[in-house]
Amino acid sequence: MTKYILKRVGMAFLTLLIITFLLFLLVRIMPGNPFPSERMSADQIANKRAEMGLDNPILVQFVDYIRKLLLEGDFGNGTSLYYGVPINTVLSSCMSNSFRIGGLAILIGTALGLILGITAALHKGKFLDGFCTVLSIIGVCVPSYVFLIFLQYYFSFKIPFFPYFFDAKRFLFSSIIPSLSLSLFTLSTIARFTRNEMVEVMDSDYVRLAESKGMYGNSLVRRHVLRNALIPIVTVLAPLIVDLLTGALVVEKIYGINGIGKLMVDAITGEGIDYNYVLALGILYSTLYIGIMLVVDILYGILDPRIRVQGKAGDA
């Protein structure tokens, strides 16, 4: 198992390096440039380019970048956005906003989704099943920002209970509305998946065998159904988690949250493209994605013994 994990971590690191290189290339190929030409003279731009080392061969630039990143953990400074402020400072505050709201959304979505899915599966074919199915279809169809506006209208305007906009000082209270609306899609997806997986597992031969042993009710569900049904759900959950953590562009914009989704948009659409911000955020997204996939793979190994032994010479 340890060997398996080490191997996976090594692979993840290599993948990340390749992605960083590709990103580095792509950012430089992208149309547009980091300097607002209307407000800067040709001399100024040339100076700036030299200062940032943009005239060096691209491989040299890349090696410099990687060295700085790995040795000092420094993403560099913004070139046009938040000029002169180290990216690390801005990024960490934006990340904490996005992560906390995203994290809350994941918690709500997964918990409610599982409850909804399990309820539906246990009442298959009855009213509750249909009810949960309709709810989850609505959840998949309605975009999160529509739901956000709906919540804002009813619970901030009609009933002035929650704040209109995000307020970092009252963090938990003001993140309920965005978290709820962000969780909707996750919730529905998890609910549908859980229901289908559980129904399938409950129809399986091994559950029949467990019943014929004399198991029933909760202990049957807990011991034989849930674990088997959860394995595929972990796979669906992973990309959903990344989606939520990396911030939602529209929701962050509407609710005035200073998150990484908003930062990405600003870095691209501001006055000139900010190479360093786009790169830093690209690397962040990739790291998150690869990291969570890694966790899922390891979790898989823990949940599913069939995968666990694949590292060894087994007779699978």
Partner: protein, 369 residues
């Protein structure tokens, strides 16, 4: 062959399971399927009954009803499943399993008194649990054993079902075992709480031929050791000949012929049984084509009129189209539901090829008696 086969009179042993007039239908999108149309079946202590018939004849459904494993769209229209057992106080009791609430059935009967071995060992074990845990589960449920005692017993059972290196296998997951091994584990699970009745639903269909024989021998051996009563569900007449004391031939949700194993194999009376026996290959089968019963079983969405087998029966009489034949008695243990046995029926003998074949089989069998 076991001595039990000599028993001519079914009442010599005590009846342990008595299915009376069982009638089950299923609600489907296409309509109501009347799958079981009045099945009567007994099982006596220590004996083996085989239920044979084509796919969809209702063999499995009948036994699932005994286990309380019917799908949620099934309705039991009528009938009783009487099970006689010795209760905790050592007194004899009889219950109708159909009338018990699910919870009570699971708590007191499934596993503990009536256990089942399923068809496909590849899918009937929980892939995420070690086989040791799966075997111990019913001991915790029914025998209130502590962990240590349960483990000792589980290892004993693994050895009993012929799994070498039990200590190591105990910690294995199902995917680490071959199909034959898994079926042995399933049998160990079924035996773990000392049941009286073992229901084997085509226990060897998913296994290759060499393993088949070994699993059957294992079940017979254990049956004798533990005094089990066994019900086999199968469409393999070879299995039946090997293990059964009594045979129930099922067709379209009804039992059409019942008798002891010699009567069914050497003096079958029902044309359907003739068909089944003709369709079984033997060493002398030299024809290019193996005989098969023409047509396919009736769709039970529509209630068959008259004898359900008439349309496929080359010996069908005019009355077969109009009225369903009752069970005619041939000997104290042998009954068949065909109008051919009515005193007014024309004399119809079984096809000569089958007669010749059964004579060969009998000669072969006599070598072993």
């Amino acid at each position: 062959m076991s001595e039990a086969k000599v028993v001519g009179n079914p009442s010599a042993n005590k009846k342990i399971l008595d299915i009376k007039n069982l009638d089950i239908s299923f609600q489907t999108n296409a309509g109501v399927i009347h799958a079981i149309r009045g099945v009567n079946l007994d099982l006596c202590k220590g004996e083996t009954v085989a239920i044979v018939g084509e796919s969809g004849s209702g063999k499995s459904v009948t036994m699932k009803a005994v286990m309380g494993l019917l799908d949620s769209n099934a309705t039991v229209n009528s009938g009783e499943i009487l099970y006689t057992y010795t209760d905790e106080k050592g007194q004899e009791a009889t219950v109708d399993l159909l009338k018990l609430p699910k919870k009570q059935l699971r708590q007191n009967f499934n596993g503990q008194r009536i256990a089942m071995v399923f068809q496909d060992p590849m899918t009937s074990l929980d892939p995420t649990m070690t086989i040791g845990k799966q075997i111990m589960e019913s001991m915790f449920l029914h025998l209130q054993m502590d962990k240590e005692a349960a483990k000792a017993r589980a290892l004993e059972l693994l050895e009993l079902v012929g799994i070498p290196d039990a200590e190591k296998r105990f910690k294995n997951y199902p995917h680490q075992l071959s199909g034959g091994m898994r079926q042995r584990v399933v049998i160990a699970i079924a035996l773990s709480a000392n049941p009286d009745i073992l229901i084997c639903d085509e226990p060897t269909t998913a296994l290759d031929v060499t393993i088949q024989a070994r699993i059957l021998e294992l079940i017979m051996e254990i049956q004798q050791k533990m005094g089990l009563s066994v019900v086999y569900i199968t469409h393999d007449l070879g299995v039946v000949a090997k293990v059964a004391d009594y045979v129930d031939v099922m067709y379209a949700g009804k039992i059409v012929e019942v008798g002891n194993v010699n009567e069914i194999f050497f003096e079958p009376k029902h044309p359907y049984t003739w068909g089944l026996l003709s369709a079984m290959p033997d060493l002398e089968t030299d024809d290019d084509r193996l005989y098969s019963i023409p047509g396919s079983p009736p769709n039970l969405l529509r209630e068959p009129k008259g004898d359900a087998f008439a349309a496929r029966n080359q010996f069908a009489l005019a009355i077969d189209e109009k009225a369903e034949p009752p069970l005619f008695q041939i000997s104290p243990t042998h009954w068949a539901a065909t109008w051919l046995l009515h005193p007014d029926a024309p004399k119809v003998e079984m096809p000569p090829e089958l007669v010749a074949r059964l004579a060969r089989a009998r000669k072969e069998a006599e070598k072993y008696l």
